[in-house]
């Protein structure tokens, strides 16, 4: 390992600009002569637009334009596309309604975009928006899954009977029925996976700029995947060819999936900038973020686990309804299907699994990826159910898991729900976690808590996740409408420094550091002489961006492939300079050496020769040292691990305090352990947030978003959380050159069930059998009162 190479806890390159206030986020950018956009949003969950009166707004000094859905339609603007098609059980395609960026006739959720005011100042745009009078004819609405599933429920779309977008299945129903028929015991559970609002601390923002001289557009936007936005907005919404559209996603203040989607505002500001021939800037208020950023989760499920008399899992049957919101967001349909039900095997060798998922429209914000995206929903359901089965059969919750784990020599393992796991060691992660958590000492701690009148419980989860969704052709056959490869360029500069261009996008993950570690390890180039460039379609090769913990396992591997090309070409150049055979030249510590001799040239000299090719094999080799690779993975990667949570509950108040939280994760090879640990901390916190604090709530009667600000939506704060104990246990991914798996979402996936299993454990002696999420003090207090009579 070199000082700053693979495995080193290198301090981050990007930090200097962030800690000194010199980061450049979208709202920090201002373009000459720019206008400010204020979006007028529907205050009603469902209504017909009878008319829009905006003369009073237009007459205000400083107001330049008020534009509506009619103007967009007149300009031939298309709808926001969905990036993943799902087929029904009968093979027919899902119902896919149109999604105009500005609603022309009907609004379908509180926050739906209706019109935009453009003004010289932000404050004027805001004041003018107050003077736009939209005449709504209110229609009945259904914001929740239960309301939308009810008999004679209000229809979100006329062509989606019963509000069903798709009715999908996976697995073998007959084999699963057979497994249940032979079961000694069946455990079942009803799960509500609560709706969440991602809440990256940087609100979304976008600046559209049209250059009439060149007939070119630039969009600055808070995106995790600028090329995806270019493709979707250019080809489907605004009909702008790629070479005339540049997307810049500069520093982005967190994403967590919510900045994957192509949003209406991106199209609105880009389109409007040409209409008025001035740059147009929009920045969301947090209130707008709550009602317009794609939400996450929101499932209702019933699940049953069939067990033998010895506690072997025989079969798993799951029915899920998933809330998709009013429109199909970019990857909305993929989340509760291929990113959810395919993970229901978990870490277990359950031989038969069958899952049905109904995707439902409701009058609510579109639902899409939120950290984990489908995998936390699967893990939460499975790990709650396994704990319940343990309790019902009297088998220890650790023992029942061990008994059913896929054994270490069982890889590759084909699950009954499409995935093939390549590697893992679930027993080792569990053992390591038990030890670090001092699981043996739990009963003593429980007794100590009891002396203080507190109820202590312990819970665990053993999770699996699938990262770096791939390969493209398989994903395409399953409905993906895009490729899932990544690109990377290694550009060696004439004096030997290196510019790395990546299609991945960093919005907190530290790619500028991790990717530089790969380069310094491969080429021996000084760490400070490496610069990583991302987020600008005008600079980087076509790439798919960052989501699903894919950056290292896919983007990093594209860079590894480009580095290999650089090394190959460097050896050819060095062989010429050293008058040796290419086969004899080896790359050692930043030098190219003739094996077994002291004859060597530095990598810097090779770079210089490539760009000043005076002494160079021009007849057989191009000048330059600049290589690009695209990498399409052979399979997903499968991080896995174990989380153990210990809670202490005050029975008088219902307050749950997490006293200890331990994680042992298998992320494959680790490039920067400091960054990995940070990702785990953040992921755990979001999973704990779902378990104890966060929940998006709509009012059933009015359809209003009740949790529309930080006063009502409870985000975890520093004093809500313990210090986490985290460790890793590594098995290498079998199908990429570094054996890396990914670490971005694991914390969120495993932690929610561990916390709730601990809460149920703490209350189980009182007779409490279940606990919904979030386990708020009121719910816990009520549950205790209910069993205490």
């Amino acid at each position: 390992m070199t000082e700053n190479g693979i495995g080193a806890a290198v301090r981050r390159k990007e930090d200097h600009r962030f800690i000194t206030g010199q980061g450049q986020y979208t709202d920090d950018i201002n373009r000459p002569n720019q206008l400010y956009a204020q979006i007028i949003r529907s205050p009603l969950p469902h209504a017909r637009i009878r008319g829009i009166e905006f003369k009073a707004a237009l007459d205000m000094p400083g107001v330049v334009a008020v534009l509506t859905g009619r103007d967009m339609a007149d300009d031939g603007v298309g709808g926001l596309p969905c990036g993943w098609g799902i087929n029904n059980k009968d093979g027919s395609p899902m119902t896919e309604p149109g999604h105009p960026p500005l609603a022309a006739d009907t609004v379908r959720y509180v926050g739906d975009q209706v019109a935009v005011v453009l003004a010289d100042k932000r404050s004027i745009a805001r004041d003018a928006a107050e003077r736009v009078d939209v005449d709504y004819e209110e229609l009945p609405a259904a914001t929740s899954l239960s309301a939308a599933s009810a008999e004679a429920a209000p229809a979100v779309w006329e062509d989606a009977p019963d509000n069903v977008c798709f009715d999908w299945e996976i697995g073998d129903a007959a084999a699963t029925d057979k497994a249940f028929a032979s079961a000694a015991h069946v455990s079942s559970i009803d799960i509500v996976n609560s709706r969440l609002i991602p809440n990256a601390i940087e609100p979304r923002a976008a600046i559209g700029e049209y250059d009439s001289g060149r007939d070119e557009y630039t969009l600055y936007t808070t995106s995790q995947n600028p090329h995806v936005i270019r493709m979707l907005m250019g080809a489907f919404v605004l009909n702008i060819p790629e070479h005339k559209l540049r997307i810049i996603a500069p520093d982005v203040g967190g994403g967590f999936g919510s900045k994957i989607c192509h949003y209406a505002e991106e199209a609105i500001v880009t389109w409007a900038s040409k209409r008025v021939n001035r740059p147009v800037k929009w920045t969301a208020d947090r209130s707008e973020s709550f009602m317009s950023d794609a939400h996450g989760r929101d499932h209702i499920s019933h699940a049953e686990l069939a067990l033998s008399k010895d506690g072997d899992f025989l079969g798993l049957r799951v029915q899920t309804r998933a809330n998709l919101g009013a429109y199909l967001s970019t990857f909305g349909p993929a989340v509760p299907t291929y990113l959810y039900a395919t993970l229901l095997a978990g870490t277990y060798k359950t031989p038969a699994i069958y899952c049905e998922v109904k995707g439902m429209f409701t009058h609510s914000v579109p639902v899409d990826s939120y950290r984990g995206a489908g995998r936390p929903e699967a893990c939460y359901l499975l790990e709650r159910l396994v704990d319940r089965a343990a309790r019902e059969t009297g088998i220890d919750p650790i023992e029942i898991r061990r008994r059913n784990f896929i054994p270490q020599d069982g890889f590759p393992y084909q699950t009954p729900v499409a995935l093939e796991y390549d590697s893992g060691d679930y027993h080792a992660c569990l053992d390591k976690c038990l030890e670090l958590a001092d699981y043996k000492g739990f009963e003593k701690r429980r007794a100590e808590s009891a002396e203080r009148g507190k109820l202590r419980g312990v819970g665990l989860s053993t999770y699996i996740e699938a990262c770096g969704i791939a390969p493209s052709n398989v994903a395409g056959a399953l409905g993906a409408r895009a490729g899932l490869y990544e690109s990377g360029t290694i550009r060696v500069n004439p004096t030997g420094s290196v510019t790395v261009l990546t299609g991945s996008h960093s919005h907190g993950q530290g790619h500028e550091t991790t990717f530089a570690q790969l380069v310094t390890e491969a080429l021996g180039v000084d760490f400070d002489s490496i610069e990583v460039v991302h987020g600008d379609t005008g600079k980087i090769p076509f790439g798919m961006g960052t989501y699903g913990s894919r950056s290292l396992a896919v983007g990093g591997m594209a860079l590894m492939a480009a580095l290999e090309k650089i090394k190959t070409k460097s050896r050819k150049i060095a062989a010429h300079l050293l008058e040796a055979s290419e086969d004899d030249v080896e790359f050692v510590d930043g030098q190219l050496r003739v094996a077994g001799t002291d004859r060597a040239v530095s990598f810097g000299d090779v770079a210089l020769a490539a760009y000043v090719p005076h002494n160079y094999p021009l007849d057989v080799l191009e000048p330059g040292l600049d290589e690009t690779a695209f990498y399409d993975p052979k399979n997903f990667t499968f991080p896995a691990g174990c989380h153990i949570c210990e809670v202490e509950i005050d029975p008088d108040t219902g307050v749950v305090e997490i006293d200890r939280f331990t994680a042992a994760d298998d992320f494959g090879r680790i490039i920067n352990p400091m960054i990995v640990e940070g990702q785990v901390h953040g992921g755990l916190t979001q999973g704990i947030g779902q378990a104890l604090y966060e929940q998006c709530v709509y009012d059933d009667d009015s359809g209003q978003l009740l949790t529309g600000s930080y006063m009502d939506y409870c985000m975890p704060k520093a004093d809500n959380l313990p210090n986490f104990e985290v460790t890793t246990n590594t098995t290498l991914c079998a199908h990429n050159v570094l054996g890396v798996k990914g670490c971005g979402e694991a914390g969120t996936i495993g932690s929610t069930p561990a916390v709730i299993n601990a809460v149920v454990d703490a209350l189980s002696d009182l007779g409490v059998k279940d606990m919904p999420i979030p386990a708020t003090p009121e719910r816990v207090w009520q549950a205790i009162r209910a069993v205490s009579g």
């Binding site: 709202d27 940087e202 901390h681 953040g682 930080y710 959380l721």
Partner: protein, 156 residues
């Protein structure tokens, strides 16, 4: 109605014409061009906009620009000491107290006030002090670690 507001920003005299309803954070960002101070919410809860006014941390989204007339205002851009990183800067970097960096300026401005009032804060005191600062990335653990280390470095 517009009003001219003047104050000292990071030791330098500044003034700008603002509307009477202009928030201090908007004046700092939009008119004075110091974009290190961020806006993450509209209900005074996230803390991304924390700055110093007359030596105390305040949420600059919760003050009108006119209220800063004549004040001594400090933002994240003024924390570096003669071009060198402040010990609290160093601590955040050393202990990985940031991911996306968006909440970081507000965090640093906030905890500098804490350390000024309490040079050796305990972990519990730090966690309680940060009640007004959201971070969605880090889980706070490394922020707490950074603040303890930064405070220690500032004491020595």
């Amino acid at each position: 109605m517009s009003i001219t507001v003047s104050f000292t920003l990071n030791g330098e005299s500044v003034s700008a014409e603002v509307d009477n309803h202009t928030l201090l954070v908007d004046m700092i960002r939009d008119q004075l061009g110091r974009t290190g101070t961020h806006v993450g919410c509209d209900t005074s809860q996230c803390g991304a906009c924390v700055i110093h006014v007359d030596g105390r941390s305040v949420k600059s989204c919760t003050m009108l620009a006119v209220q800063a007339e004549g004040a001594d205002v400090g933002t994240i851009e003024g924390v570096a000491l003669n071009g060198n990183l402040h010990p609290m800067h160093e601590a955040f970097r050393e202990h990985h107290g940031l991911h996306c960096g968006f909440c970081t300026p507000g965090m640093i401005m906030s905890v500098l006030d804490l350390v000024q009032q309490n040079p050796d804060p305990s972990e519990k005191e730090i966690r309680e002090w940060l009640e007004g600062n959201f971070c969605r990335c880090t889980g706070y653990q490394n922020i707490v670690r950074a603040v303890r280390a930064g405070a220690q470095a500032m004491r020595s």
